[in-house]
């Protein structure tokens, strides 16, 4: 066998179990030529050390036999997704995805398209031979109208399967790609053009300019069921009618977008540093566990009321847990949250039988009032008609939270008014000081409001309830 040129390629291509020095491609296949052009471009530009090839599933799966550079062998259709990961992980590398028309055009189309749309910094070499090669010549999205394949044995019927997919034309609708072109390797002239285009894809990556898509029309004599010459002729005469060669986008001259600056920190500790971080909980078995449920409409500050009680508990180094209703329940307008405060590590996080239930609307009251533990307390806003009595042994406090907040001219402070009741009637097992500190801390971003709420809290406490 004649010596083969090795530029950018391994000296031998060891196939499984043997050491043979010819490729796995069929005679007359376009892949072999394309592989050589890619290897040459990579080597001539001196990029072998910097290159990460992302290999497809399909006839191109074994490119790692040939190209002398690092490889990642991706799942079927996912080379563009994997190349996204690789180029994001290694911005200084030259990342090249190599994909066929089943791989890119069908199963992986969205991954390729979205990568192009994001302007990922990799080059995508897309080999279009109008069918699935490796799996046995089935129809691909690129199969020509009327073309016979193993899954279009009577020829592709556009009435049933649509028309060939024009990848370059579709991608050319996107703003981000820097370069989009279609070439062919069906004859020498075309091969020389393809070589220039492949070089360009590498140069774009070398210079970090952005996304490049190069579609290459390639003959597949085996699945065309033709000899090499006829396959090349089919590629030039039939495929080019459907898929005209040309450059669809060349903006290699444009400046790559620079990333907008955002605040930077040096370390995790700096990122998560808190000025007044509370020390960790301490175990104190003498503190009896208390379970709270807060319920009402969204917008009444129910969740932040729960958070304030939780924060007060944290200030006292209690084990503390806060849990909100979430998902569609929340969007439906009602909101509730649970808080558990304990002297020992908290087991079950759910509040089946609250010691304290705070309700700001009727549905919440009626839903939860029956669950309250004997010896527990229900605080309900006075706007709620109490049609259902709490279980025996449960204290009921009717409290004008919403009304007071309106009287004070701060309707949003109804939750602070409820906190006043919790404080006044000693429902939390937590000190007044902690509750007030937690309330003020909940307005960390608006300190003036914190002080205002503390004032309102104290005013509200002086009110009588209809207990």
């Amino acid at each position: 066998m004649a010596a083969i040129e090795q530029k950018g390629m391994y000296k031998v291509f060891p196939r499984s179990g043997k050491n043979v020095s010819f490729t796995h491609y069929c005679p007359g296949c376009g892949h072999g030529i394309i592989n050589k052009l890619i290897a040459e471009a990579c080597a001539e530009l001196g990029l072998q050390d910097r290159t990460i090839f992302v290999d497809p599933v399909g006839c191109g799966v074994f490119t790692y036999y040939y190209w002398d550079a690092a490889h990642i062998s991706a799942a079927h259709g996912r080379a563009s997704a994997a190349a996204t990961g690789a180029c994001r992980a290694r911005p200084d590398a030259v990342t090249i995805a190599y994909q066929g028309d089943g791989d890119l055009g069908a199963i992986g189309f969205n991954n390729a398209f979205q990568a192009a749309s994001r302007g990922e910094k990799f080059g995508c070499i897309f080999v279009n031979n109008s069918l699935y090669g490796m799996t046995g010549g089935q129809m691909a999205p690129t199969t020509l109208d009327g073309e016979t394949t193993t899954t279009t044995p009577f020829g592709r019927d556009p009435a049933l399967t649509g028309h060939p997919l024009h990848v370059c034309e579709v991608f050319a609708q996107l703003k981000a790609p820097v370069y989009i072109a279609r070439v062919s390797v069906a004859d020498t002239r075309r091969i020389m053009q393809a070589k220039q285009a492949i070089r360009k894809v590498f140069e774009i990556q070398r210079d970090g300019k952005g996304y490049a898509m190069l579609e290459i029309l390639a003959p597949c004599p085996t699945n065309f069921k033709m000899n090499a010459q006829d396959a090349a002729a089919f590629c030039m005469n039939e495929m080019e009618k459907e898929f005209p060669l040309g450059v669809f986008r060349d903006e290699t001259g444009r400046e790559a977008l620079s990333v907008r600056p955002i605040p930077q920190v040096a370390s995790c500790s700096e990122l998560f540093a808190e000025k007044d971080a509370v020390p960790a909980a301490e175990t104190d078995a003498s503190f009896a566990e208390r379970r709270f449920k807060f319920a009402g409409y969204g917008g009444q500050g129910i969740l932040s009321l729960g958070l304030t009680v939780a924060e007060a508990a944290r200030l006292e180094r209690r084990h503390t847990l806060w849990f909100p209703s979430y998902g569609p329940e929340q969007r439906g307008g009602s909101a509730n949250c649970s808080v558990v405060v304990s002297g020992t590590p908290i087991g079950s996080p759910t509040v089946e039988h609250p010691d304290v239930l705070v309700c700001m609307n009727q549905p919440a009251y009626e839903r939860f009032v029956g669950d309250v533990k004997s010896g527990g307390t229900v605080i309900v806003d006075e706007t709620v008609p109490v049609k259902v009595q709490p279980p025996e042994g449960v204290r009921l406090i009717v409290w004008p939270a919403i009304k007071m907040a309106e009287e004070f001219g701060v309707p949003k402070a109804a939750n602070t008014m409820m906190l006043a009741a919790l404080k006044k009637f000693k429902c939390t097992g937590l000190s007044d000081e902690s509750l007030e500190r937690a309330l003020v801390a909940s307005f960390k971003k608006k300190p003036a409001l914190g002080e205002k709420n503390r004032e309102l809290l104290r005013l509200a406490e002086s009110r009588d309830s209809k207990a």
């Binding site: 997704a81 996204t84 994001r88 992980a89 995790c268 500790s269 939780a310 503390t320």
Partner: protein, 351 residues
């Protein structure tokens, strides 16, 4: 330093302290806060956040990033986790370290966004194609959402395997205090196998294909040997188990319900204890066997019994066939959570 955070946020913090450099994700309730935290915090530390077009893309982006030698992660819930299974199989097949967080929601199908543990089998047994496993950890608190996410990266790197942090919707949303460490983990060096686009890694090839059947079998044997060795990192936690006549077994949120249940049972004179697997794969089989021998066993779980079956299997493999045969379960599904009342009632019926 402490932070009062949602379990989902604790996951992101854990990942950052572990040295995770890239996050790839797609929104899904009840895991979305993980993506929100990552989108904000990763770039502030000069790390990378990418919103993928789908979960299939996320997991394959991870394949590329892990293949390029960086620590990376994603987080999702049931439907997204299903979509990722093929990619997780590829990660296992290429022996790539990566972390997938599954904040389990109710299924099957669209289900709802409330907590379940019904993805047990795919999360613990390897849900994709081929004979692979993942290193699977089951946090039970915000602190463990942090700690075990960190640990997941450590284990993924140590065993060159995808690791799964298997949580549930309740834990994702729940806020608790997390104690943060002084500093994070050192980033591991993967240059002996990763494709990093550097001179020293030029010869490296990341792949999961062995065309030759004998080679593929050899590779499978290698994997199985590795998975057997992972048992050295199994973690379980026993509580009140020494003198227990009834052992309640549960993981994650169910493990906490088990804890309260045991405490309630002790108040009425039933000697109950708890065993909570912290790693689900490797399963802490020996640790379970040590406290299960001769005990009555009840599981608490938010699925149809997938976990109970695995407990039976592990007991049987540990030579505790009689205990395995007697395992009873209390469970809920659909987003309902087992109540302590129900668990206490079932336990009393067993005694």
């Amino acid at each position: 330093m402490t932070k009062f955070v949602k379990g989902n946020e604790a996951v992101v913090m854990g990942a950052l302290y572990a040295g995770c450099d890239l996050y790839f994700g797609y929104p899904i309730t009840p895991a979305s806060e993980i993506a929100h935290g990552a989108a904000k915090w990763f770039p502030m530390l000069g790390r990378t956040f990418v919103q993928a077009e789908c979960e299939t893309a996320s997991i394959n982006m991870m394949f590329g990033a892990a293949g390029a030698g960086k620590l990376c992660m994603t987080a999702t819930s049931g439907p997204g986790f299903s979509l990722m299974q093929e990619g997780i199989s590829y990660l296992a097949g290429a022996e790539l370290p990566a972390v997938v967080v599954n904040v389990n929601r109710a299924g099957p199908g669209l289900g709802n966004v409330y907590p379940e543990q019904s993805d047990y089998t795919p999360a613990v047994k390897g849900g994709g194609h081929g004979s692979y496993q993942t290193f699977t950890l089951a946090p039970a608190s915000a602190q463990e959402m942090f700690d075990l996410t960190m640990k997941a990266f450590e284990m993924a790197a140590k065993w060159r395997t995808p690791a799964v942090v298997f949580a549930d919707g309740l834990q994702g949303q729940m806020m608790e205090t997390v104690l943060l460490p002084e500093s994070g983990l050192q980033r591991p060096d993967f240059s002996d196998w990763a494709a990093q686009g550097e001179p020293k890694t030029r010869e490296n090839l990341v792949k999961s294909i062995y065309l030759d059947a004998a080679q593929q079998e050899q590779f499978n044997l290698h994997l199985q040997e590795k998975y057997a060795k992972m048992a050295e990192d199994a973690i379980g936690e026993a509580y009140l188990a020494d003198d227990a006549e009834l052992l309640i077994v549960g993981y994650g949120i169910s493990g906490r319900i088990a804890r309260t249940t045991a405490e309630e049972l002790r108040k009425v004179g039933v000697k109950a204890g708890v065993f909570r697997p912290v790693t689900l794969n490797p399963f802490p089989r020996e640790q379970l066997a040590a406290v299960a021998k001769g005990r009555k066993i009840m599981t608490i779980e938010l699925d149809a019994g997938q976990f109970a079956d695995d407990v039976r299997l592990n007991l049987a493999k540990a030579g505790l066939g009689a205990e395995a045969a007697g395992v009873k379960m209390v469970h809920r599904m659909g987003g309902e959570v087992v109540s302590v009342d129900d668990a206490v009632k079932s336990a009393k019926e067993m005694i």
